[in-house]
Symmetry: C2
Subunit: 597 residues, 2 copies
């Protein structure tokens, strides 16, 4: 599939020409500098790839680099790590190349926590050729009494622009960095990593606000950078996409390591999400095995195009699952010398992966010689595990992870893993809403996925019933309710703005919803009710010509997707107001230039 997408991208890349109105932005995230830096084989991996990324930015002559957090793996990076990072930034991002875009927003607000609260390329004493903008991740987040993070060291040296930092735990007000290149206006929003549970609550409690330019709102391309769980790691331990404001055009989602860099359209929110993924595998899990890429994002007016750029210095990683019980023809627990047979079979599997790695590496001189290899062996069903370390050691000359090539798991562990991978509530909700905004579908889908997982794990009917029951535990229910309540209140705000319902009417609806919430026994009824309310409300709100196709198109024009008739105020799209503001209003402060939505 990736091959096709890449093809598609290359075909359409011509749509946006590199000209004086086109922002060229190198997108990368989760570089994790310093990960395993003391490892004899992999110690330099993160630095080598950061070098490649920066070199690419220079060669592609990008306007700036946008990082989605976790530039550093350690909250307190080692001396070597800081030294290498600073040296690389100085090498590639300093120079005489002129910067062709302007900052229109009040930089003292954008970089309020810095001692040098202005974009680095405007500093008279530092010659920046490629500005780097970054939010912080969970690995390099601010800690301690001074609330400093590793990025602040880079920013104090004038090497990066650390943005998207919230100073309050009570309320987050995201003031975008407003950039303009030629006629293209780019509003760069960002929010550095915050514990997911806390940010989830803050969204639910409407404590997160995004400011927008007061005028010409429809002329801005709105890009948001976030570093949070996107896949669900527990009831409220992630950020559902629909929490994000729908005036956004593109969300750059950091933190998730799987490369899903092709912008995927969220059909409910009508924005696109790109998940660049990490540039180094920090765990030997399937998500990390996807080929690593960075992106060259072009933005012209309200059109965008994402060019996928494969990273060549990334160590190959192959992972394969082997469920012993699925091969009754080959071995069964009571077979004589079954252990030797299993071990021999595992060896074949590993060798096959090694061969594949070698084939793929041909013609790629930058790719490290030794790949990462992981064979996950589910030995449930009466089989025995053999010595994984000894087995792994056989490949000491061939692999980069000679301590843990093989990993034994039991059914239960595997089951849990599958659940983790598949049950993405946010994504399901987003999908289901595009298919008619039926929350009950979402819930059905939810349990269907759960069922599938159960089937995979070969549970008995009784076991399944128990498992389903577990899914409907209190925490889960609360989360669903909370999510629904959030959607409801959001709809309420929409309706209120349009004057369809009076505030009193809405309050009444909310109250009655809350009443129904009191009974915790009949979830289906409740979900049904809320969904009907929500569907009714939202259908009125949606444009008629909404394209519900699941486009994996890399190039898009925001305006084509927008509502024809703009609302009188708020999140409208489509109505192009006159020009006027722009550079002359720079540094006017958010009071004058930005407004809450």
């Amino acid at each position: 599939m990736n091959q096709n997408c890449l093809q598609l991208n290359q075909d359409k890349a011509e749509i946006i020409v590199d000209d004086e109105d086109t922002f060229k932005i190198l997108i990368a995230t989760d570089i994790h500098l310093g990960y395993l830096e003391k490892d004899a084989i992999r110690g330099n991996d993160t630095f080598t790839t950061f070098d490649e990324i920066l070199k690419c930015a220079k060669e592609k002559q990008v306007d700036f680099i946008l990082l989605g957090g976790d530039l550093f793996h350690e909250n307190k990076p080692s001396r070597r790590c800081l030294y290498s990072c600073i040296s690389l930034l100085r090498k590639y991002c300093m120079g005489d190349t002129p910067i062709l875009f302007d900052v229109l927003s009040d930089q003292a607000v954008n970089f309020s926590t810095s001692k040098f609260p202005w974009v680095n390329y405007q500093d008279e004493n530092i010659n920046i050729s490629i500005p780097v903008f970054s939010v912080h991740g969970n690995h390099d987040d601010p800690t301690g009494a001074d609330g400093l993070c590793a990025l602040d060291i880079l920013s104090s040296a004038g090497l990066i622009n650390h943005f998207g930092r919230s100073q309050s735990v009570e309320r987050i007000e995201i003031s975008p960095v407003l950039l303009q290149k030629g006629k293209t206006k780019l509003a760069l929003y960002g929010i550095g990593s915050i514990p997911d549970e806390r940010l989830y609550r803050m969204f639910v409690n409407n404590q997160v606000t995004m400011l927008r330019p007061k005028e010409d709102q429809d002329l801005w391309f709105n890009l948001f950078t976030i570093h949070q769980n996107r896949s669900k790691h527990g009831a409220t331990n992630y950020i559902p996409e629909q929490f994000l404001d729908d005036f956004l055009n593109l969300v750059v989602w950091g933190h998730e390591h799987e490369c899903l860099i092709e912008p995927r359209r969220n059909e409910q929110q009508l924005f696109y999400v790109t998940q660049p993924g990490s540039s180094v595998a920090t765990s030997l899990s399937p998500g990390e095995a996807a080929k690593k890429h960075i992106g060259l994002l072009r933005i012209k007016g309200r059109k965008m195009n994402m060019e996928k750029i494969p990273l060549n210095t990334v160590r190959q990683f192959f992972i394969q699952d082997l469920v012993l019980a699925e091969h009754p023809d080959l071995f069964s627990p009571d077979m004589p010398k079954v252990n030797q047979k299993v071990e021999a079979f595992c060896q074949e599997k590993v060798e096959a992966m090694l061969e594949e790695a070698e084939r793929e590496r041909i013609g790629c001189p930058l790719t490290p010689e030794k790949p990462l290899i992981r064979l996950r062996v589910d030995y449930s069903g009466g089989f025995e595990a053999f010595n994984a370390t000894r087995f792994s050691q056989r490949f000491v000359e061939q692999v980069a992870n000679p301590k843990d090539v093989i990993h034994f798991i039991r059914q239960k562990e595997y089951k849990a893993k599958v659940e983790e991978d598949n049950v993405d509530f946010g994504q399901l909700m987003s999908q289901s809403t595009t298919e008619g905004l039926r929350v009950e579908d979402l819930v059905k889908e939810y349990f269907k996925t759960a069922e599938k997982t159960m089937q995979l794990s070969l549970l008995t009917e009784q076991g399944m019933g128990k498992a389903v029951q577990e899914f409907v535990d209190k925490e889960e229910k609360d989360a669903i309710e909370e999510l629904i309540r959030y959607q409801l209140e959001k709809t309420q705000r929409h309706l209120q703005q349009r004057g369809v319902m009076t505030e009193e009417e809405i309050d009444q609806e909310i109250r009655s919803f809350r009443e129904t919430k009191k009974g915790t026994a009949e979830e289906e009824d409740e979900v049904q009710e809320v969904s009907e309310y929500r569907a009714r409300a939202c259908r009125d709100d949606l444009p008629d010509d909404l394209d519900l196709s699941d486009g994996s198109d890399f190039t898009m024009d925001i305006d084509e997707d927008s509502t024809p008739a703009p609302p009188p105020r708020g999140r409208g799209r489509g109505s192009r107001g006159g020009r006027g503001r722009g550079q002359t209003t720079a540094r006017r402060g958010r009071g004058g230039f930005l407004c809450k939505i």
Copy 2:
């Protein structure tokens, strides 16, 4: 005395006019950024004073800042510490002020360990107004597989020039940074901190070499920066001044925290030594109580002048010793309620110090409000110590060290302290040699001091004998022998160069000296013999007009002090060769430009 010196300095400061030939160098050392950074009262002290130092450098429009090591207190400075340091350097040392001196030496050699091996102010991408040159100290020395130190982080960001770093443990070859401002040529030598014992051995084994420009040697002002023990902390646990080459003109001695910044002439080596001292008290010992200064060093041709600049942000520190046994009129151990009396007396003493501190602080708005106060109470002779913490807590509102205002010591401890303070072998040797180069005097002086110490500690004759015996222990003897051997071999090299003795003759002398060394019983005979040899050899070597006065003069002219008749090659002074080299020979490499001496 300091007052007089300061006066002297001010009177004579006019001698060197600030013109296009005058280097203005801000001299500071042992800033110990981050020392006690988590202390509620003293946490900001080091940063505040670093700010003052940099501000002073800016106001005085110095050409560069020279630091003698231990800029950082911790080998791995905290994030806050790095952040603050980088921010301050960026604030004060970047700007448009042009740099008016040139680097003539091969910078790739001077800064060979850097990824950016050139002086920071010549980097096209960084606008440096005040270059900082620094050697590393023992607190911020290179460690780990990569041999990086905290200074390297600053240097990778282009904020300082880390020099004087040796890459070999076998041999140190110090290649100076050759600077020229107008007609003044300044050779900046430096050696970052090395464990004293190791460096001592290396000096003794002739493994330390200083390179010099091949031509016009007598035109250069030779400045050496070192960060080692200057006072003797054990037999070979310091660097005697006479180890340093005598072609040097000024030694900036870091590591020692007492401010002895007035250049003091070493009458044997004929160079001056300035010991700026730390800018923060990192221990509550007498040396730290001396008023803290930095220096503004002016160098024009071969003349120099050191202007003492008091630091205003340094926390006051008062220390006083109280020997209870010395006040028989006030209290004796068998007096009723003696403890209360002692405590009351101690309180008076502390209060007196507090009053003194307050008086001194009047008109000094930058001086922190709470001083450091230390009362050392020698309670030997049958007295009892009272609760020091409880006592200290009485001054919690008035002092910066409310946990340890009082410190009880016993005679023995005190005695050890006195020894530590007084027996400076290197200094004694240096003194004695200036008085006729008689090593036996040195040894007599040595034991005399030891005796004095014994008297102080009120030992019995028997105890004294034992103590003296302890002084003549094996380690000490070895150290004396080694030092003598070093001097002897140095003399030998001198004589060899002059052709007075054949190499064979010298070998014979050395052999016979080594023979005598074999017997370990008769130290006096041995020392006598060596001293006679040495004295004979060195007298021939010394100029007739050697000024033996202990000059505390701040302004000196190197040429006035120099030997009239220069030796045919090597360390000659006085013979002015023709001009010629200079800027045109820059970056010619040490092979062409520098020679070993």
